[in-house]
């Protein structure tokens, strides 16, 4: 088992995280994201005017990670959970976009489940990251979270008039390639969307980006174009992912792509260094590089508001 981080390093990390914080609020109307400055979650009056919180996206918690980039990932997840629990109006759902654990080990999954169980919002939807399917038998994630998808890894549900689609793109890797959805999953999406009206707001979430951000590091999904073409007729589509531990966004027609921060550690900008490894930043900079995304439904309209909050 990994070494326990020193008391000193944990104390230091928590001290840095204790300073209050700003984040960024994104309103999404007609497919366009507009950033608005935000104080702590829920305390900005502008945030309240954007309607009730629909869901919070948590990503890349990497429970089990214990290296310099963040020796206390449990502490930063706990702080994230406290941030969400402190929202004056609780989100209806929590979405975790994968890399729940660092090494797919049973004790890591157990701890993550126990911690996520502290959220006041109890409806949790997940997709796995490649770190969650890195056990030799690819069973630990599915034993715990496989029920929603009948162990397929992809599923859909409706909530508050919004159609949610959870996808898996971390299993069918080809050598040297990007993430893959696969023909069977794509056919399932086509069938799932077939009878839906184009005015239905759609939220798609997966672990790896659903557009190519940086191919040499595999930051993309090879067959995502087929998915995107099925979604073009819809008036409001949000495609959410984790994996790259930083915010990157793209708007294409009515489709907004949004990559969330990690609650555990930052990663380098695309192409900087030998690979997408944990990025060690000065302790006082770490909190502003970790965070959560919350999405609200704007009353009387078919628009979402995306808000990114950091732990700083």
């Amino acid at each position: 088992m990994p070494d326990t981080p020193s008391f000193e390093s944990r104390r230091k990390a928590l001290k840095c995280l204790a300073y209050g914080g700003a984040g960024t609020l994104f309103t999404l109307a007609g497919g366009v994201l507009t950033p608005i400055e935000l104080a702590l979650a829920g305390s900005d009056p502008k945030a309240a005017s954007l309607g009730r919180p629909l869901f919070v996206q948590i990503s890349d918690t990497h429970i089990g990670f214990n290296k310099d980039a963040n020796p206390d990932v449990n502490g930063t997840l706990k702080q994230t959970i406290e941030l969400v629990n402190a929202m004056p109006e609780q989100p209806e759902l929590i979405i975790h976009t994968g890399d729940i654990t660092h090494l797919s080990r049973p004790a890591e999954f157990d701890l993550a489940q126990q911690m996520l169980g502290q959220l006041r919002t109890t409806e949790l939807h997940t997709v796995p990251g490649e770190h969650d399917t890195s056990d030799a038998t690819v069973t630990e994630y599915f034993n715990r979270f496989g029920k929603a998808s009948n162990n397929k890894g992809y599923y859909s549900f409706d909530h508050a008039g919004v159609h949610f689609i959870a996808l898996i793109n971390v299993l069918q890797f080809k050598p040297g390639g990007l993430g893959t959805l696969g023909d069977e999953q794509l056919a399932w999406v086509a069938a799932d969307l077939k009878s839906r009206s184009s005015s239905t707001p759609i939220v798609v979430f997966a672990h790896m980006p659903l557009w190519t951000i940086y191919e040499p590091w595999g930051w993309g999904t090879g067959d995502a174009d087929q998915l995107v073409s099925m979604l073009r007729r819809f008036g409001s589509v949000s495609m959410l992912n984790g994996h790259i531990h930083q915010i990157v966004q793209k708007v294409e027609g009515n489709i907004t792509f949004h990559s969330a921060r990690s609650t555990a550690y930052p990663q380098p900008l695309a192409g900087e260094g030998p690979g997408p490894q944990p990025l060690k930043v000065p302790d006082d900079q770490l909190p502003q590089m970790l965070g959560v995304t919350s999405v609200s439904v704007v009353k009387h309209s078919r628009a979402f508001a995306l808000r990114d909050s950091t732990l700083a």
């Binding site: 990994p2 290296k67 310099d68 660092h102 090494l103 797919s104 080990r105 490649e130 770190h131 399917t133 890195s134 056990d135 030799a136 038998t137 690819v138 069973t139 162990n151 397929k152 890894g153 992809y154 898996i168 299993l171 069918q172 890797f173 080809k174 050598p175 040297g176 390639g177 959805l181 696969g182 023909d183 069977e184 999953q185 040499p216 590091w217 595999g218 030998p274 690979g275 997408p276 490894q277 944990p278």
Partner: protein, 115 residues
């Protein structure tokens, strides 16, 4: 994902895990493998290795990020290897074995086994 393919993948993974358990059961195999591959800076080094049948090959992760070793054909598959952790496999059957890291699939390598 294709359900049948997924089941196959898992079945292969289970089989690989069992074979692996057999491959690393002997402490000698782990302590003194005849051929070593390291994972460093998100690359397998050497990326191509030729060994005689019966050779135990070990892979050791020297990065600060976990890696795995997974055969394309499902012949072997390690669990996640954290920094300084190793995985070994004994190659009894001649042939060409392509493998990748299932966390960073652009990391690829080949073991060629000669009779």
């Amino acid at each position: 994902m294709n359900t049948a393919a997924f089941k196959t993948l898992r079945a292969l993974a289970v089989a690989a895990a069992l074979w692996t358990a057999a491959a690393i059961a002997g402490p000698a195999a782990e302590a003194d493998p005849a051929a070593r591959v390291v994972m460093k800076d998100f690359m397998f080094a050497p990326a191509a290795l030729t060994v005689k049948a019966g050779t135990v090959v070990s892979w050791t992760n020297q990065d600060n990020e976990p890696h795995t070793v997974a055969s394309d054909a499902g012949v072997f598959r390690s669990g996640a290897l954290d920094t300084n952790e190793s995985f070994s496999f004994k190659f009894d059957k001649p042939g060409t074995y392509h493998f990748l890291c299932s966390i960073h699939p652009y990391m690829v390598g080949t073991i060629t086994v000669e009779p």
